[in-house]
């Protein structure tokens, strides 16, 4: 007696990842074409350089968020963590006269600690990360106000070169973000750690019973997300040339939207950092394009919201079709 097995393509995993990227590229091309048709100023090097220099903060934070969503968690605190990390860097540079690099290190350390707390509390008390990071959202924001005395700390030229043109009009921050995207994709696909993340997001109990302890991995993922949010905070400061305690309010939503547009599943177990990067691009091209064609702020928000929903609906339909084929 032989089991009946449907002949199904074995390259589903690969084609699925390629399919997501291809779909995002098509969406990007369509958007560029549309905005170019609507505004004669859109299709210029200037526009693209501006977009590229705008995205690093969201891009690196979205890399961390991709990891968190892959293990079936969520991190709502990244916007506040960006602000508190930036505040730490600002104070280090202004009051203690630290140079930029150690101050950046401090910001990332602050983010790492916040993320590690998120992860440890989630794991130790088996709480939903939604609630724990919602608490951290408030805590970190409060800490940012405390550290800055609720005032924007002007840093100036000491930090702004991170966001200023460096090679071909692109900023150092853009290159750092690109490097992190590539590195994170390699970690996800080529390391034991990445394999364990995907396994935990798919079926945590099965991982535990296979002898893999999910707890340290989950804590590490939240810590990485915090660290990257800290770096994102510094990038944000470099654009503002200041540590603003109100920076990054609502950033978690833009970040989550970018990751989800990139095809990472909110249910865990499936995702790609490269796709996330394209998700970030989709949102920023949309924003830049709408601004160029003169859309008002309310219109921009309505259209952005609709694009997020449409992207996720399309992705879900594609997944469902794949499963039933």
């Amino acid at each position: 007696m032989s089991a009946q097995i449907k002949p199904i393509s074995t390259r589903t995993a690969v084609t699925s990842a390629l399919g997501t990227v291809a779909g995002l590229l098509v969406a990007l091309a369509l958007m560029v074409a549309l905005f170019s048709a609507l505004s004669q100023y859109f299709f210029t090097a200037d526009t693209f350089v501006t977009i590229a220099n705008d995205i690093p903060a969201v891009a690196v934070t979205a890399v961390g968020m991709t990891f968190v969503l892959i293990i079936a968690g969520i991190d709502l605190s990244v916007g506040s963590v960006m602000a508190v990390s930036a505040a730490a860097a600002g104070i280090a540079m202004l009051q203690w006269q630290w140079p930029l690099l150690p101050a950046m290190g401090l910001a990332m350390a602050v983010g790492l600690v916040a993320g590690a707390i998120n992860g440890s509390v989630t794991v130790a008390f088996r709480l939903p990360s939604f609630i724990v990071t919602l608490g951290m959202l408030e805590v970190a924001r409060g800490a940012a106000y405390l550290a800055t005395g609720s005032r924007t700390q002007y840093i100036g030229s000491k930090i702004d070169w991170l966001g200023k043109p460096f090679v071909a009009g692109l900023s150092p921050a853009f290159f750092i973000a690109l490097a992190i995207v590539i590195l994170a994709q390699i970690v996800l696909t080529r390391t034991v750690f990445g394999r364990c993340m995907i396994g935990i997001g798919t079926n945590e109990e099965a991982m535990r019973l296979a002898g893999v302890d999910p707890r340290p991995i989950k804590i590490a993922v939240f810590a990485i997300a915090g660290l990257l949010a800290g770096l994102g905070g510094v990038f944000l400061s470099s654009r503002l040339e200041a540590a603003d305690p109100n920076a990054g309010i609502g950033a978690e939503l833009v970040v989550i939207a970018s990751v989800v547009i990139g095809g990472t599943s909110l249910m865990g177990g499936r995702g790609s950092v490269v796709s996330t990067f394209f998700g970030v691009l989709v949102i920023s091209v949309l924003e830049a394009g709408l601004a160029q064609v003169g859309a008002s702020e309310p219109t921009k928000r309505i259209i952005t919201g609709c694009v997020i929903i449409i992207a996720v609906v399309l992705d879900t339909l594609r997944e469902r079709r794949k499963r039933t084929s």
């Binding site: 089991a3 097995i5 199904i8 034991v192 364990c196 995907i198 798919t202 019973l209």
Partner: protein, 511 residues
């Protein structure tokens, strides 16, 4: 018996999934009688009763309810016709009150606002009908003990018209006083002319409550006979079958040194003080009824659940191994093939490759980096060794048949190369071809000196595969049979033994 009206008649009922689980079963149920339905694990009791209750659609056969053709397409439809079933698992909403649960589908309301007074009155009446006046219908269900919850569940089945009531192992969680109460209620239902199907493997209960007993074996109807004049022995013989166990004789495997000793393993009332030793090169079986603590014992050994007491000693160690988590168990050289491979064993949407190397990623990695070529070669070797029918190592395991999924789980533990392998129902849902491959693999493992501890509900499988068979009953390991000492009858008797003893003790207390 007073009633002679045929309430429900079935003919040639059958159900097949991959293989037939029920075939050609006919029966008659009279109004006002209690028909006991019994048989071994997997004999088809639940399937048959679920067909009657509209939960399972039969593949073949017909039924008539009071002479009218009866083929319910859903539980709702069956209930509308007065056929109700109380399932083993409770289906109450624990946060709602007893009254709300009882009348969930027809809450008395005015324009959507619940009329609590009417609701509570109606519920109180309903509860009084089955003698539960003592329970306040306003209490949330979660505030009640499990036994009372079960009674509420039964009370809910009696809301509205009820002509036929199916009770599936209703006493599993009840105390002897509650059982007495339940039996009294069943007697009242009988007097009202309700037909009752009572599923249980507690034979003494059946003798107490049933008018007739119907025995199933391997999905087939064996015999239906009056309860009066049937001894428990008669029924066990019917369940097992008179056919002497076939040529299951094979030499006992040469047992090596002790691989693992389990001492005084306990968890609540589920596993009580179990000790055993397992040798290299042997397959030790664990038989017992569902709920006798077999799965739980394996999970305790593996560190998957917390134990109250007990220790595990590996090899000739004199100090117990530190096993509080599966991670430590795997490090100590123990593997577990879980009972439910879909929810606890496999990562279904991921590839055979990823699933195979999961328990031993270190072997295919260096410094945290996966060596993808080595992994591919190794998984391909295991895939062919175990004859996993699949397109390639990259195919998602969710797309494989049950047997081939189980082979992937085996491949994982082969890759890990553990000394002790715990197997929980390793051939459940596995077709015959793949089953033979799995037995052959177990043989190879034993021949290589590994120690295997295998839980199965299929006695014939245990008798053909194992060198020794331990029998668990009500949480205790009641006896270990050596090859040659056992028969189906003896094994089954041992499996029932603690339940009979417990009930005898309860009876003595009551007297």
């Amino acid at each position: 018996m007073t009633a002679t009206v045929v309430l429900l008649r079935g003919e040639g009922l059958g159900k097949r999934y991959a293989t037939p689980v029920l075939s050609g079963v006919g029966f008659e149920l009279h109004g006002g009688e209690v028909l006991a339905l019994t048989g071994e694990n997997g004999a088809g009791k639940s399937t048959l009763s679920k067909i009657v209750a509209g939960l399972v659609d039969p593949s073949e056969g017909e039924m008539w309810l009071e002479g009218q053709p009866y083929r319910p397409r859903s539980r709702k439809e069956a209930e509308r016709l007065g056929v109700r079933m109380v399932l083993q698992e409770l289906s109450l909403v624990p946060t709602l009150s007893v009254a709300e649960n009882l009348l969930l589908e027809r809450l008395p309301n005015t324009a959507g606002f619940i009329r609590r007074d009417v609701l509570n009155q109606a519920a109180a009446k309903q509860m009084a009908m089955i003698g539960l006046e003592a329970i306040d219908p306003r209490l949330p269900v979660s505030a009640l003990g499990v036994g009372h919850q079960q009674m509420v569940e039964i009370a809910r089945s009696l809301v509205g018209e009820c002509r036929l009531l199916i009770l599936d192992e209703p006493t599993a969680t009840l105390t002897s006083r509650e059982i007495e109460h339940l039996f009294h209620q069943i007697a009242l239902l009988k007097a009202r002319g309700v037909g009752v199907v009572y599923i249980s493997h507690r034979l003494d209960e059946l003798q107490q409550i049933a008018d007739r007993v119907m025995v199933l074996r391997d999905g087939k109807h064996v015999e239906t006979r009056p309860m009066r004049g049937s001894t428990q022995d008669d029924i066990v013989r019917l369940m097992v079958g008179r056919d002497v166990h076939e040529a299951l004789d094979r030499p006992r495997r040469p047992a090596g040194a002790v691989a693992m000793r389990v001492k005084g393993m306990s968890r609540g009332t589920v596993v009580r003080d179990v000790s055993l030793s397992l040798h290299n090169g042997e397959v030790l079986g664990l038989a017992g009824l569902v709920g006798s603590g077999r799965t739980e014992l394996l999970r305790l050994i593996y560190g998957a659940d917390r134990k109250d007491s007990g220790e595990v000693l590996l090899g000739n160690a004199t100090t117990p191994a530190r096993i509080a988590t599966p991670v430590q168990a795997v490090k100590a050289g123990i593997g577990l093939v879980t009972e439910d491979r879909k929810s606890q064993g496999l990562l279904l949407p991921l590839s055979i490759r990823i699933n195979t190397t999961l328990a031993n990623l270190k072997a295919v990695a260096g410094g945290g980096w996966l060596k993808r070529d080595e992994e591919r070669v190794e998984v391909e070797r295991l895939r062919q060794l175990l004859r996993v029918r699949s397109d390639s190592s990259e195919q998602a395991v969710g797309q494989l048949s049950g047997g081939n999924q189980q082979k992937v789980v085996f491949a994982r533990w082969l890759h890990r190369d553990c000394e002790v392998l715990l197997l929980d129902e390793p051939t459940r849902g596995v077709d015959i071809g793949a089953r033979a491959d799995i037995y052959a693999q177990m043989d190879r493992l034993a021949a290589a000196g590994k120690a295997l501890l295998m839980v199965s509900s299929d006695l014939r499988e245990l008798m053909s595969v194992c060198d020794r068979i331990g029998v668990m009953s009500a949480g205790r390991l009641v006896r270990i049979f050596e090859r040659g000492e056992w028969s189906e009858h003896a094994l089954l008797e041992a499996a029932f033994s603690a339940y009979l003893a417990a009930d005898a003790a309860n009876g003595a207390k009551a007297a």
